[in-house]
Symmetry: C2
Subunit: 403 residues, 2 copies
């Protein structure tokens, strides 16, 4: 008898983007019930809190709770045990009557974890080059440090919201180059940034460096990120200390956190680093991820940024984050920065798609530059999984007028 | 009979920097007991957790806990009630046997509150001008946005530590202008930044602006801040997204949080804003604070930065922080940026005191520029109180070698 892969007993899940090779986690509520950890399978959500209480009471503190942080904190060995148990629950037909499935359409998703610190990188060479060309047409596209270290900065953890949360257009100070003085008002150049985020599941004390090789023991999984950006506010405020209010009004993340284990088949080599890096940034093996992103504006796909084109790997970003002895906390989130590929339709921001607003792009028959009130943006992420493609959920947000 | 101010019954406290016009809060432990909220009076600490349990059980959830966050979250009316009660406890001789005083020398202080987001401003015109002259000797000292908005950025909340915590010298990438390539190693230009921090005690949802007039209902009090900075790491990494690893290895704050109520007598007008500000930054009444800072290096006072010289007020920084609709959380901390006055001995960083390392200053008979391993820095803060000067605690840290 040859060993075959066990199939899930969940109707419609086998062969879908959410088969048992995927199994992302979220925090879900249904009706008046308290929020619980859930796992997506097909178009259903396995109530993992209820399963733990009934079948594995020792895991109730990890799974019967309203945030993923306790599961994140449990460490890589437990992440693997929980994942194997979930596979068993969803493939052993004898479990069918022991667990509860909730239709995806009936659950509401919460912010999946309490975010500790949020760092945003700038790891796409294509994005950094495009932005450099747009803002500094007469200078070098990349600044001198860019290929020596993954440039990044801290964002506002408290304004991170879950997919589906509407986003108020920010107001603030804007000054166009042609204006003498700044004025106050709603942003006129509101943008998206299609990114990938990495969720830290390990606390590391101050004074400790985390090596690139520790990536898989430190990062639990990934989430989609839309780092909404007000380009006019940013252009005026950002010297010399970087973006602040241009980014701090909202950052949307996917409800679903996909464990690294599901993304093993998506590992690919980086496209290539043409400047040697310092020892602490070196790494072994394929360290990139072949994740496809779709950027949809009001129902029309306007770009398909490929994550495999990123210059810096997530393990390098992690090593850099802690090389100075900065501590890590469970729930830290670091994001890749805008994902842009080499082609025009692979750009992950409207700034690049419209080349600074000067070359409108077409979406749904309309010429577009920046976001209008009422626009809805959806970022969708897929990758090769162990059985077929897997879905990493979506990041959805609609723009409301300035409040 | 004329009404006189009630005197405290605590030996040695009347007339000290910690009389009943002050009453800062900390989270203290003694022996094996759980951490509690404490209030400093003279050289003693009132065990406020024990007092609440015995005398005001309804406040035990605010005071018999290991962080100030529940007290912060209770709101301005409760802040005033608790303060009035503490004054009563410490001035009514009949209370002497009902409360417990702990000698200051016998308690250990914890980080006083769980920090949500940390924003660091750049609000001293003298500091920003000095830094501009040091780094851009041929350009304008202040950048065009500086007098239109309080420039700021997010720091790393997770690396904030309480006074007394040793600080490992960070390592990282440094590249001097004369070098072709960056190298990895311990920072060679490790610095301090003497700042004042403002502790938010109110949650405000996304999409809501906080007016300057809401400052006293939003900010609970102040803490001393030493924003340790690695200037060589900063110079190489900071374009275009601002400081990251140069700051994220440690930020020290005082154990004591001084309520705004104690600082009412210290309110002074700002030195003057010579460029009109937009409506949302306007404010009524004196909005500065006459707080003196002493910077001590290995026992020698090397600078006395005056907080009253700051260009931007804390209420303006708060209004700016939320003008884009960013939310606030209880435990948010925003700091002023380096406090530097107009005089040479009023500069709040070694970068300025040594003019970029080119003009060593004298401390304890030695010529000094940046921090050496083993150096201990203490920042001390005092201000006029209702009865005399009050102390705002200290921020102490010793530099350990790179770990």
């Amino acid at each position: 008898m040859t060993e075959t892969q066990p199939q899930t007993w969940v109707d419609g899940a086998a062969g879908s983007l959410y088969d048992v090779d995927n199994l992302p986690y979220a925090v879900v509520t249904t009706g008046d019930e308290p929020a619980q950890v859930g796992v997506r399978i097909g178009e259903q959500v396995l109530d993992l809190g209820a399963a733990a209480r009934a079948l594995r009471p020792a895991w109730t503190p990890l799974l019967g709770v309203d945030r993923l942080n306790p599961l994140l904190a449990a460490g890589a060995a437990t992440w693997a045990e929980v994942r194997a148990w979930v596979v068993d629950l969803l493939t052993d037909p004898g479990r069918r009557d022991q667990v509860r499935l909730l239709p995806l359409a009936d659950v509401a998703c919460r912010l999946p974890f309490e975010v500790a610190d949020y760092v945003d990188y700038y790891a796409s060479e294509h994005h950094a080059t495009n932005v450099g060309r747009i803002f500094r047409p007469d200078g070098a596209a990349l600044l001198p440090n860019w290929k020596h270290l993954p440039v990044g900065y801290h964002g506002r953890a408290g304004s991170i919201v879950v997919s589906g949360t509407p986003v108020h257009r920010p107001a603030g100070q804007r000054k166009a180059p042609t204006e003498d003085l700044p004025s106050y008002g709603p942003s006129r150049r509101l943008d998206i940034e299609a990114e990938l985020g990495f969720v830290v599941g390990r606390s590391v004390p101050l004074g400790t460096r985390v090596a690139t090789a520790e990536f898989a023991d430190t990062v639990f999984g990934v989430a989609g990120v839309n780092d909404w950006s007000a380009r006019d506010i940013q252009a005026w405020e950002y010297v010399p200390l970087g973006p602040h209010l241009a980014k701090s009004f909202a950052t949307s993340i996917s409800a679903w956190v996909t464990p690294l284990a599901a993304l093993e088949p998506a590992r690919v080599p980086l496209p290539g680093q043409d400047v040697p890096v310092l020892q602490y940034l070196r790494e072994e093996g394929p360290s990139g991820y072949d994740i496809e992103v779709e950027v949809e504006l009001n129902g029309t796909v306007v770009a398909r940024p490929p994550y495999r084109s990123m210059y810096w790997s997530p393990a390098q970003m992690l090593a850099h984050l802690t090389v100075n002895g900065a501590s890590l906390r469970v729930g830290d989130l670091y994001a890749s920065g805008t994902i842009s590929g080499p082609d025009k339709d692979q750009r992950g921001s409207f700034l690049e798609l419209s080349w600074g607003g000067r070359e409108p792009f077409v979406a749904g028959g309309a010429e577009r530059t920046f976001l209008e009130d009422g626009d809805e943006v959806v970022l969708r992420y897929t990758a090769p999984g162990a059985r077929g493609r897997i879905g990493l959920g979506e990041v959805r947000g609609r723009i409301l007028p300035t409040s």
